[in-house]
Amino acid sequence: ACGGGDNEAEKEGTTDTGEQTEETFKVAMVTDVGGIDDKSFNQSAWKGIQEFGEANGLEKGQDGYNYLQSQSDADYTTNLNSLARQDFDLIFGIGFMMQESINEIAGQQTEAHFGMVDAVVEKENVASILFKEQEASFLAGVAAGLTTESNKIGFIGGMQSDVIERFEAGFQAGVKAVNPDATIDVQYAEAFDKAEIGQSIASRMYSSGVDVVFHAAGATGNGLFKEARDLKAKDPSKNYWAIGVDSDQVAEGVVEIDGTEHNIILTSALKRVDVAVNDLSTKAKEGNFPGGETTVYGLAEDGVGLAEINDAVTVKADIETKVQEYSDKIKSGDLVVPGTLEELETFSAE
């Protein structure tokens, strides 16, 4: 009985704040099965929401900012709907897998506002966010192409999809731009969560002479890092570089050899979902919700980028110069990075 009393009080409290919600802007997101700390775009998106929340004095919870994790594909719709019913002002769906769910719910919950990350939903109350992943991976390719000593470079994809293809195409273009002699060994793991496959592919690549490997494969990439760390630990004199994806994965690359710390992460191709999410939330809060529009975040918008280059790379300075050079070209529109393998065929950096 006691608990019931408390609850009524709480409910009254909620109605009170309910009136205030005109002012408090509530924002939430739905993750895919990877969860908010997938070291990839869910994590990055959550970071953006947290930053937005903190900047605006919100608290985590039902009346501030929050997230719901999906345990299976079937949960996306339920979770998105749940949040809409909790009167969140802006709800993000993270990942192209949520496209259909958002499309459907946006039609039903016409009052709610949605942010669709990584896919386009053409509804008045949905703002779509896309990234030019190819621009980030182009820069990663530049770094790889300049770093490699064997002229053999690897790319591990998770599962074939438009997004991963953008990563691949951009990366290949970047390598070709600075090092036309380099060959690129591409392999898809057909899974985003199988570290052992990542490890085996990486093992194959490194042992065939590849010295830089870029992955766009989620947790499958853990296997790449593991392999690179192990090889480095065995023979510290050799170079086994790995390039991270989405967020700066430098923490995954630490190898301690005889008391000295090495790192096998060359750099990471950043996809700043946090920036985009924060940006869209701010716009929405200010009443400028870009409903029905698709915003593409590229280098120019600071939506993608390249992380710090590893200090241990001998040609670090050269890389930084080249990266800067290409960044400028891309931002200015002088260089259009191919986003598909088809475009890649006709691409030339000149």
Binding site: D38, S200, R204, A219
Partner: protein, 319 residues
């Protein structure tokens, strides 16, 4: 790529892949040889992987390079403890073994993810710094031909798993304990009339399966995934179960089956770069390990007979 190059990649990768399966399948053998079906192997691996990673993360600074080995021990203990639930349910409480095993799988995932969220306030752990790493076996790796193939670029855990398989074979088939264990799985009443404590033997069998399943999960986590999340153990336990059946409940057979799985899997990954396979669409390579297993079972292995009294409850005084 020459044949040698191919083997140089395939063999270590096969062994790496096989070692968690071998250990876990051995666990299954101990349990099922004692008469208790154990489809909870997947769950036991989850527990092993979880406890190894958590232990590793919290003690690496103290234990240094010994961390992964001590973590194996901890994982074995945790696995044994957890399998105690299966033992109590299916032996003492006379639960259907399959049902209890399914519950073990669900419970393991639920409990570990719940704990990860409770401890770290997020859905997965950080990456461990002190995992098992690649080695060249001293001396042996210098043997021409054999050395590079079997003793270079591999992990201690591969040899560990093979050694455990040989020990398990020895224990199951050469020692009084093994004879008694097998008798309770084949004909518990006969064992009882010979003064063997059926309940005790079955408890030991199940607890050993927990310890070995825990080891399997810990080896996977510390030599492959390096962290723990919902995706760390995703089906390896079922593959181990298949290896156990494929190997006809024999430790060395299960080891062979696990190595076969590892080999088929590695082949599917390296296939793209083999001259005679490069034009084969990827999907065929991806399904090859599974199809090969089915064909192998159909073609030359044929019927595999489980221990006779597997899945039954031994109740004194009934027949």
């Amino acid at each position: 790529m020459g044949l040698m190059d191919i083997l140089l990649i395939i063999i270590p990768s096969t062994l790496l892949w096989a070692s968690p399966l071998i250990l876990t399948a051995l666990g299954g053998i101990f349990s099922e040889r004692s008469g208790v079906i154990n489809i909870g192997l997947e769950g036991l691996m989850v527990i092993g992987a979880f406890s190894a990673i958590v232990f590793n993360l919290s003690t690496a600074s103290v234990l240094g390079n010994w961390t992964p080995w001590v973590a194996l021990l901890v994982a074995a203990l945790a696995g044994a403890l957890f399998s105690g639930i299966h033992a109590v349910a299916s032996i003492t409480f006379r639960a259907d073994h399959t049902v209890s095993g399914v519950a073990i799988n669900l419970l393991a995932v639920g409990v570990t993810l719940f704990l990860v969220k409770l401890i770290y306030d997020k859905g997965q752990t950080d990456i461990i710094q002190k995992g098992f790493s690649k080695i060249d076996v001293p001396i042996l790796s210098d043997i021409p031909f054999i050395g590079p193939l079997f003793f270079s670029n591999t992990y201690w855990t591969s040899y560990f798993a093979i050694a455990v398989a040989i020990i398990a074979w020895f224990v199951v088939f050469k020692t009084p304990f093994g004879l008694r264990l097998r008798s309770t799985g084949e004909h518990p009443m006969a064992a009882d009339t010979m003064g063997i404590n059926v309940t005790k033997m079955r408890y030991i069998g199940v607890l050993l399966s927990g310890a070995l399943g825990g080891l399997g999960g810990a080896v996977y986590a510390q030599s492959i995934s390096s962290d723990f999340s919902h995706a760390t153990i995703s089906g390896q336990g079922f593959m181990a179960l298949a290896a156990m059946i494929f190997g006809k409940w024999h430790p060395l057979g299960a080891m062979g089956a696990a190595i076969f799985f590892g080999f088929a899997q590695s082949l599917s990954i390296i296939g793209n770069s083999l001259p005679f396979l490069e034009n084969v669409p990827n999907v065929y390579l991806l399904i090859a390990p599974y199809i090969l297993t089915i064909l192998a079972l159909t073609g030359f292995i044929g019927r595999a007979d489980a221990p006779k009294s597997i899945g039954t409850h031994y109740i004194k005084g009934s027949r």
